[in-house]
């Protein structure tokens, strides 16, 4: 993230200095202004949705929802706490229904509950949750259909099926790739234990962070 951010910003500013140096600073300010506008909007959305989530927790409806999705989620995300499963199921259900306002806070909470203390490297389950979210599992692209209808399309919802298939392809391939990487991770760990110190430093850190996590989680569960 740091490398990508620095590179993009640097190249953009260098380009701007050549094309229109006067706009460089206002452009950056505009970016933050946009962020503030979005933050205010999000604060309103989250205020309503987090209240709804609080009611769901108080009535224990969230537990019923996660019980419904539990078989699927338990198969995808192994060895996590009940709290994590609850957040993940709210996140996935909200995503499918196109309620981004609930999905994001639930996702943030899921990530926080999966993280062990001091963990800085993402575990396979965290990456899986991120990828399922980043490849979009929304079932009805409401905004886009509305836009096409306003623009006078002959058949505004004709994009529904292609969108659904395309999302399914990206999400499924994401899950498969994730699981493949996670599999090679456990192999790496075994290699690490067989070969001892012959691994490079980076892999060493990764292996430790992956190994440490489950024990933290199980301690939390007790």
């Amino acid at each position: 993230m740091n490398i990508a951010f620095t590179a993009l910003t640097l190249i953009s500013i260098v380009l701007l200095t050549f094309t229109s140096p006067a706009t460089a600073f206002p452009t950056m300010l505009q970016g933050v202004m946009n962020a503030i506008t979005l933050a205010v909007k999000l604060a309103a959305i989250y205020a309503v949705w987090l209240s709804v989530l609080k009611m769901m927790q108080a009535t224990e409806l969230d537990k019923k929802l996660s019980k419904l999705l539990r078989p699927l989620i338990k198969r995808l995300f192994k060895k996590e706490s009940d709290e994590t499963y609850g957040w993940i199921s709210i996140n996935l259900a909200a995503n499918m229904l196109g309620m981004g306002g609930v999905a994001t806070p639930a996702g943030i909470n899921a990530m926080r509950s999966m993280a062990a203390e001091g963990q800085t490297v993402a575990s396979p389950n965290m990456i899986l949750l991120l990828i399922i979210n980043a490849t979009s599992i929304q079932l009805i692209p409401a905004t886009v259909i509305a836009m096409r209808a306003t623009a006078g399309s002959a058949d505004a919802s004709s994009i529904f099926l292609p969108t659904l298939i395309s999302t399914a392809v990206s999400t499924l391939s994401g899950i498969i790739l994730c699981k493949a990487f996670a599999l090679s991770d456990t192999k790496k760990d075994k290699d690490f234990y067989v070969n001892g110190g012959s691994c490079n430093k980076k892999r060493h850190i990764n292996a430790i962070s992956c190994k440490v996590k489950p024990s933290f989680m199980s301690r939390k569960r007790k």
């Binding site: 990508a4 993009l8 910003t9 953009s12 701007l16 094309t19 452009t27 950056m28 505009q30 933050v32 962020a35 604060a43 989250y46 205020a47 309503v48 987090l50 209240s51 709804v52 609080k54 009611m55 108080a58 009535t59 409806l61 806070p105 943030i108 990530m111 993280a115 963990q119 800085t120 490297v121 993402a122 965290m126 990456i127 949750l129 991120l130 990828i131 979210n133 980043a134 490849t135 979009s136 692209p141 905004t143 886009v144 006078g152 002959a154 004709s158 994009i159 099926l161 292609p162 969108t163 298939i165 395309s166 392809v169 990206s170 999400t171 391939s173 994401g174 790739l177 994730c178 990487f181």
Partner: protein, 168 residues
């Protein structure tokens, strides 16, 4: 029909709250309080990403890079008219919608590029935004293979989308 779903769900929830004697007002107080805390923790991430996106668009870098990419992307069946939207999709949701609007205006809503662009905007997510915001509450910074895999899968979905738009 779908406009009734959300209000209906909230009504059901409120009824359940009454039956279970849950303090609804207290729930709203707590939820609102949490929302400000959440915004406080994700704001730095939103702000830095937005600065980056604004610079990326204003400097013309996005059109230059999409110019470079349009040739190789056309080999895998992605029309050159929509290269810029593919570049913006992982960065910014609002930017994608704005660009989709201009593509619809330029080529006509039922044209091939406009339909491709519509499917892509509906079927993709803002990868960089999500990965920044989701990890804002914990100290995890090394995402390892997460972003490359997400970008690869999105691209795969995009290729499928363009192929489907051609036949459907």
């Amino acid at each position: 029909m779908s406009v009734y779903i959300l209000p209906a769900l909230v009504i059901i929830l409120l009824v359940v709250c009454i039956i279970k004697r849950v303090k609804v007002y207290d729930c709203f107080l707590e939820g609102t309080k949490d929302s400000l805390g959440l915004i406080k923790s994700i704001f730095p991430y939103i702000a830095s990403i937005f600065v980056c996106i604004e610079l990326f668009k204003a400097s013309g870098l996005s059109s230059i890079v999409s110019g470079w990419l349009s040739k190789p992307l056309s080999y895998i069946g992605i029309p050159s008219e929509i290269t810029e939207i593919i570049l913006l999709v992982p960065l910014s949701g609002n930017g994608t919608i704005a660009l989709l609007e201009s593509i619809i205006a330029e080529y006509g809503v039922d044209s091939y590029p406009a339909r491709c662009a519509a499917v892509i905007s509906g079927a993709t997510e803002t990868i960089f935004y999500i990965s920044a915001v989701y990890f804002s509450a914990c100290k995890v910074r090394k995402l390892r293979y997460a972003i490359p895999v997400a970008i690869f899968c999105t691209l795969l979905g995009t290729v499928v989308a363009c192929a489907l738009c051609r036949i459907m």
